[in-house]
């Protein structure tokens, strides 16, 4: 049985700007199997985050094909993409992007509510307890430290049990120790739920914790940079 969960074939992304069109991704082909962890590395502007956005259906490829979970994302409309994300996807951002007017519990419960879960708040509470924030549930993001906010974001991403977790430099805004703790938590979550993880990072050490590392430079995958870290 084919267990490929991500299949990118010559995916391209160009954005129009005032000064003209900018080619962000210039033909990326990549296959990822279910349960795999991928570390995306590369310098700033190489297209890592854009590639992540294509995988999450957050941005539409302007060329090539992007098939995730057997679905061609480039041909889906806005509402189909929302539906796809609700069912299959969890995202962790560098800047956390918690909703400031919601408590930690409400932030985590929201994707569950969107998925129509009747026990959204109970599951959210369990998820927060699992990341060590059982006693901070009623706190607002502004009342939490950066590390705590990112733990809430991790809980929010993991709560609906997505098959695909996307993480965009989740430790980029945190100090070293806190960042290590968050990464441990992220990998623990992935191990527990068996999701596929695509992690964007600047850190070769973090990338090394993944099954495979994919290097990007100027919008293309750099030859030889794709390797099984375990090998």
């Amino acid at each position: 049985m084919d267990d490929t969960i991500i299949n990118l074939n010559d995916a391209r992304l160009s954005l129009s700007a005032n000064a003209g069109t900018v080619d962000i991704l210039r033909g990326v082909s990549l296959q990822v199997k279910a349960g795999e962890t991928i570390g995306l590395i590369g310098p700033s502007g190489s297209g890592k985050s854009s590639l992540l956005m294509l995988l999450g259906g957050l941005e539409k490829a302007t060329g090539g094909s992007v098939v995730v979970m057997g679905q061609e994302l480039t041909s889906m409309n806005e509402d189909d993409l929302s539906n796809f994300r609700r069912k299959h996807l969890g995202v962790v951002f560098q800047s956390f992007h918690l909703i400031p007017t919601m408590t930690a519990l409400e932030n985590v419960a929201t994707p569950l509510e969107l998925a129509g879960a009747a026990d959204a708040f109970e599951r959210a509470a369990a998820e927060l307890a699992a990341v060590g924030l059982g006693d901070r549930m009623s706190h607002y993001p502004s009342q939490l430290s950066g590390g705590e906010q990112q733990r809430v974001a991790l809980a929010r991403a993991a709560a609906p049990r997505p098959q695909l977790l996307l993480a965009d430099e989740p430790t980029g805004n945190l100090d070293g120790a806190t960042g290590d703790a968050i990464m441990t938590l992220l990998f623990d979550l992935r191990d527990r739920h068996g999701a596929t993880l695509v992690l964007v990072t600047h850190s070769p050490e973090l990338a090394a914790r993944c099954d495979r590392t994919v290097g990007l430079l100027d919008g293309v995958i750099v030859a030889g940079a794709t390797a099984r870290a375990a090998e």
Partner: protein
Amino acid sequence: MSMRLAARIARRDLRGGLQGFRVFLICLALGVAAIAAIGTVRDSITAALQRDGAALLGGDAEIQLTYRRADQAELDWLNSTFDAVSEIIDFRSMVVVDGTDGTDRALTQVKAVDIAYPLYGTVALKPDIGLDTALRGTSERPGAVIHPVLADRLGLKPGAVFRLGAQEFSLSAVLVVEPDAAGSGFSLGPRTIVRTQDLAQSGLLQPGTLYESAYRITLQNDQDLDALKKRADDIFNNGGFRWRDRRNAAPGVSDFVAHVATFLVLVGLAGLAVGGVGVSAAVRTYLDEKTTVIATLKSMGAPRNLIFQIYAIQIGILSIIGVILGLAAGVALPMALAPVLEARLPIPIDVAIQWGSLAQAGVYGLLAALLFSIWPLSRTDHIQPAALFRDANLGGVGWPRFRYFIIILVALGLLIYTATSWSGEVWLTLWMSAGIVAAFATLTLAAVAMKILSRKMASLSGLRGRTSLRMALASVGGPGGEVISVVVSLGLGLSVLAAIAQIDQNLRSAISRDLPDMAPSYFVVDIQSDQLNDFKSMIQDRQGVDRLQAAPMLRGVITQINGRPAAETAGDHWVTDGDRGITFSANLPAGINLTSGSWWPADYTGDPQISFSAEEATEIGLALGDTMTVDVLGRPITATITSFREVDFSSAGMGFVLSMNPAAISSAPHTYIATIYAEQSVEARILRDISTRFPNITAISVRDAIERLAGVLRGISSAVSYGAAATVLTGIVVLIGAAMAGERSRTYEAAVLKTIGARRSSILANFAWRFAFVGLAAGVIAVVTGGISGWAVMTYVMENEFEFDLMSALMIVGGGIAATTLAGLLLSLRSLNARPAQILRSRE
């Protein structure tokens, strides 16, 4: 996705507070408050008219006769049918006072009453004596009471003696309250009240004199007003009378209030449209700030419709709050101003909550909020989750989906439909709505053009070295929609003001400058046939008198056209609404042109014939050969229309809609009416000589009448100007909102400019320029659109010439620049005072 989920998320999201919505709430509340306040006053007046109907009318019902008193048979019917009957006789006359330094005189509206007057209400006098005592007078002469304005004008104090015709009266007191004053309609002279019997020797109520008699009656509660009116029809010769009853006691006041209130509500709707721009801008700014939240929700899989619902619920809640605030203000304002209002109104009113008008204002507010929120709300569709990965605003660019266009059109349609049906003035409302929509489109296009022009000018080589000016132009022409919002909202408010100023100035010019040039000095009425020759010879050869025109006059009511009730053919045309002046002439008068048909031979004695005013005939739909029944002094005369002629009413000269052949009506008692065209320097002397030699004749100064009319117009104009000022105030709120929204970027800009060495004064000049440009644009566009509206109203509605009033235009442009610059600079001071290091660090 359920609405409940949307409501839950909306509620959580609203915890962030309503700070960004101050402008939204103020804009909506101001518009609603203006409409609610107008409705509250209008309905309070209407309620007072209904509540006090009998007192305002002076009876439960009134039968009014023109030119005659009831005959014995009619009086018998009245006395046998009703509990109480009171006879009033109303006519114009001159109060003449002989003083030590000459004779003084003034026009007055005399009300001669019987002992039963007033059937309802109480006449209050100063000194506080009863009316009966006051009218009894002294042993030498009967008593009279007069309006304080007349007493002041003639310098009369209680005890003073004056004449009406040939009868002397002793002034007993001045009138403080005349309970039925509002029911009497507009009059040119202040009131004098006397007993009817005391006029017997005055020589004023001779046959043919222009007077009206009214029989006020009281009814048992169970008497049917409509049945009584029908019965009166039979007794009083089929419609040769006018019937009024307590259900519509003061039609003049209620019609006037309804018309003015309708116009003010429409001005209020224009204010709501201006506020709508603020609403729209506030929603856009709010959603810009929510880009991250929306993108985050979308990244979790929230669909477009759910996001739209979340923010539509929030805006809906805010709209309800704004409407409630507006309604509260709309009730509180008239209540607070009640003493001022009551002093200026002709009837006593209780300003109270009027639920009907509040509901209307609320519906207008909610529809306007819906109309102006949908487009910015639809921008949530275009916010991309990718915004979370990029430090760029990836939201809000693109056209709304088709369904939102439908909602916008439905909201607009409902707003116009409700305004049209509630105002009762379909065409006025539709024209005004079209005007607002056209002004909106014009202002938006002009604002976009101004942005493009500013951008182009900013890059002109000639502006190099003029950094502040160039930067201001670049800022106005740069990205962002605030400039357009401000130009549209302030421009629309100023447009309403400009249009009103242009119409007001043109009307005033027409009345006070143009009309006196062509209008006569005096209208003289009640000239008896045997006085005519003496009167003519006294006036026409006098130095300073240009010309004298005289014509016989009777008054009559057109009751039937072609054998059917007149209203069936003429509807509510003014010619058939009440009694009209009728003249007769053997020959076609000089200077009058027939448009069709032919004038009767000078010695014609056959069946009665009518020559009718051509313009009115066209309006009513009359043709040559039609018959018309006119009730003159209770006698119906049926005549055939044999010619149409041109009648010019615009010059305030003598104009009769109806002229008949002499044999038809000359035997009926009649008097002559005359117009005197004279130089102003001899007017006073003419008046003195007329009243000395012919005490029964009344001369009405056209100049005074025009002044009174101009006074009424000034009142209306100032009421409308207050409405327009509320519109401009809303425009300024939008301006302040836009200035506040731009504060963060101005602060950053100021910090960067200071860092690279700019002085505070040049930064301030830069900010001042950009606000002044916006004010200039709003002012200029307003003057152009206001001028076009003013021209259209003067040309097509008033059918008068239009002359552009430069002074008001300059004041509006200057006001626009001053308001924007001042508000902008005040709101820029904080940006200017911020320390650069702090700002730049927090931006990193």
